[in-house]
């Protein structure tokens, strides 16, 4: 997938028509869309082509349980063009977006829904709005984020990895912990794979990092207490704490710019926000959520998506200089 070109104008027009529409009008699915059902899917592909010779795959895995339903609506009615506009301003070539919807495998009907990698506004929007916002989730304080990560680790084919040794980006939103173990029965039920054993979430994250740079995005400060510790243990400073769910696109784009080394500092990210017309009142909070990412990748250390760069960001002394600056 991924044919066609992105047009910000077309995207804005698409969203303008529904800017005031309630979620029920935008997301009309009452069940998992057959084309988003991951069962039996061999692979979701992000391929280079004549129009897109240098693809940058980006996955938004959106928690669609009851407490998180607002975020997909915000993206579908207002915010997604900002993400593309920021990347466009910074000349990130050929972004291809894939949307996933994540729920709870133990209580939801559709705990995992997977779209396709797309380059055009219409198709991105199509997969996003085909998501079934089940609004479920269990009461255990966990959701099946690890199932989504397993799918990405096992069932994606990315030309950027094969041809250029560069990884894609995963931005997973959520407010709960992942299950510590992914049961092979869950995998067989929802994906169709027959595992020879259960998998620990750490094992999945390790495998996932061969092809993706993962970030976990917490929508606001209020919800950090329930999940921050577990996610930091897995992803360290790749856990982004926003102050408002509406910042999802700015924060994701900013993290990508820093990680790619396109922005050397938060000042650079701020300039990109300004050029893309990010609302003034959201600029500061969005930059604030990126402070830890700046520490990892700022000042020219941003080569995070390179497969070979999964190592400390530089000599410890250099990092110390940056950190302490006494």
């Amino acid at each position: 997938m991924g044919y066609g070109n992105y047009s910000a104008q077309a995207h804005d027009q698409l969203l303008h028509r529904r800017s005031q529409a309630p979620a029920a009008e935008v997301f009309t699915q009452q069940n998992c869309h057959p084309l988003m059902n991951p069962k039996g899917v061999l692979a979701r592909e992000s391929r280079d082509g004549p129009d897109h010779p240098d693809t940058h795959p980006v996955v938004f895995a959106l928690d669609v349980t009851g407490s998180m339903g607002d975020l997909p609506r915000l993206m579908a009615t207002r915010e997604l063009p900002s993400f593309m506009r920021i990347l466009e301003q910074c000349r990130v070539p050929d972004p291809q977006l894939l949307f996933m919807a994540v729920g709870d495998a133990y209580s939801d009907r559709a705990p995992l829904q997977v779209g396709q990698f797309e380059s055009t506004a219409e198709l991105m929007d199509q997969w996003l709005t085909r998501s079934f916002l089940e609004g479920g989730g269990g009461g255990s304080g966990e959701e099946s984020y690890e199932l989504a990560m397993y799918f990405l680790a096992q069932h994606t084919e990315l030309d950027c990895v094969v041809k250029r040794k560069k990884r894609g980006y995963l931005f997973m939103t959520g407010d709960e912990n992942p299950y510590a173990t992914l049961s092979r029965h869950v995998v067989e039920s929802f994906v169709g794979d027959r595992l020879d054993d259960d998998l620990k979430v750490e094992e999945i994250v390790a495998e996932l990092q061969k092809t993706f740079v993962p970030f976990f995005v917490v929508p606001d400060e209020r919800r950090r207490g329930a999940c921050e510790a577990a996610w930091r243990d897995l992803l360290g400073d790749h856990v982004l704490l926003m102050s408002d769910p509406a910042d999802i696109c700015f924060v994701s784009a900013g993290a990508m710019l820093l990680c790619e080394g396109i922005a050397k500092s938060l000042d650079d990210v701020g300039k990109a926000f300004d050029a893309a017309g990010v609302r003034h009142e959201r600029r500061g909070p969005a930059l604030s959520a990126l402070k830890r990412v700046e520490r990892l990748y700022g000042e020219g250390r941003g080569v995070g998506s390179s497969v070979a760069s999964r190592s400390p960001a530089g000599p410890v002394e250099r990092v110390m200089d940056v950190l302490l600056r006494r």
Partner: protein
């Protein structure tokens, strides 16, 4: 070794220890397979996911939906190996590896280091290592309290440091020492003590207002939870660069809130503020450059005058600041480089 895949692929083949991608045709209408390497007939049992070729020893995967967890386990092993990420020295606490990046401070009972998780994506933390074994109980209490503050759903939110881990160093340098780790926030670099050192004449009174209000907000939240900090000292207060944030650390003296302990917290906070205004920590006396109403309030609170709760004092301070300096505005703390 990779075998040529000139026939429809079923899945893969593994030569006893090594996985090899290969094609394996399933003859139509028959449940027979042939080894993609030596073409010998294979006879897997009915529900087998894979079978071993009796002639060449290759392991042929016969179930196209089967996935080996071995790849995932190997990936995790490599991920958890600090050497694979370029680290040469690390210490281990509770199975997690940390690399020390430098000494931040040397306290009376412990050494405070900046450290990072020895894998990628990394996590920067403050790692406290107990030096005085006689203080083990107090150190453990601090760890337990910090863990409770971070995870107990208290109203402290982002005002307290985010607890990461506690335990004993089981391998590497400092083996056997008790360790406490909490998240390092790189824009909270300077303690009130550092600020006093950098600006001996004191910070601007406008700046001191938001600093005190942040400390009082934290104390109010803590007191509401039935706890008192017990050691609000300049070395336990961290101030944010280029923003209006203050964090409190040093939870070793945390205790139950009583009228006396609550009053002591509030009193100590006034002393700390007097100190960064260039005044005296104990008496709350400040230089003449501080507007008299603010100086009076500081002195009164620091000397244990009229008792009031942290939130009440915060509101009172807000009202006073509005009278003295006008509506709230942004006054970042700027330290000389």
């Amino acid at each position: 070794m990779t075998l040529a895949a000139d026939r429809p692929v079923l899945r893969g083949v593994r030569a006893s220890t090594k996985l090899l991608p290969v094609s394996t045709p399933l003859r139509s209408g028959a449940a027979s397979l042939e080894c993609p390497r030596c073409h010998a007939p294979l006879a897997p049992s009915r529900f087998a996911r894979q079978t071993e070729c009796p002639y060449c020893g290759a392991t042929v995967r016969v179930d196209p939906s089967s996935v080996e967890t071995r790849t995932f386990r190997e990936a995790r092993q490599a991920w958890d190996d600090p050497a694979a990420h370029g680290f040469t020295q690390w210490l281990t606490v509770g199975g997690r590896h940390w690399s020390l990046a430098g000494l931040l401070a040397r306290g009376t009972t412990s050494d405070v280091y900046l450290a990072q998780r020895a894998r990628w994506p990394t996590q920067w933390v403050v790692l406290k290592l107990l030096r005085e074994r006689s203080q083990t109980e107090r150190f453990e209490r601090e760890g337990a309290q910090l863990a409770k503050l971070s995870t107990g759903g208290l109203q402290l939110g982002a005002r307290a440091p985010c607890f990461v881990q506690r335990g004993v160093v089981s391998a590497g340098p400092h083996e056997g020492r008790a360790a406490l780790l909490y998240a390092h926030e790189h824009d909270f670099r300077n303690t009130f003590e550092d600020v006093r050192r950098a600006l001996p004449q004191g910070v601007a009174p406008e700046v001191s207002v938001w600093m005190w209000r942040r400390v009082l907000e934290l104390l109010a939240a803590l007191h509401q939870e039935g706890l008192a900090h017990g050691a609000i000292l300049p070395s336990h207060l961290l101030v944010q660069d280029e923003d209006h944030g203050v964090r409190v650390v040093g939870f070793g003296s945390l205790e139950g809130a009583t009228p006396a302990s609550v009053e002591r917290d509030v009193r100590m906070s006034a002393g700390c503020l007097a100190s960064i205004l260039g005044g005296d920590l104990n008496s709350g006396e400040v230089p003449a450059s501080v507007p008299p109403p603010l100086a009076r309030l500081l002195r009164e609170v620091a000397q244990g005058g009229q008792a009031r709760g942290a939130w009440v004092l915060r509101e009172q301070l807000g009202g006073l600041a509005r009278t003295l300096f006008g509506p709230p505005s942004f006054h970042p703390l700027v330290l000389p480089r």
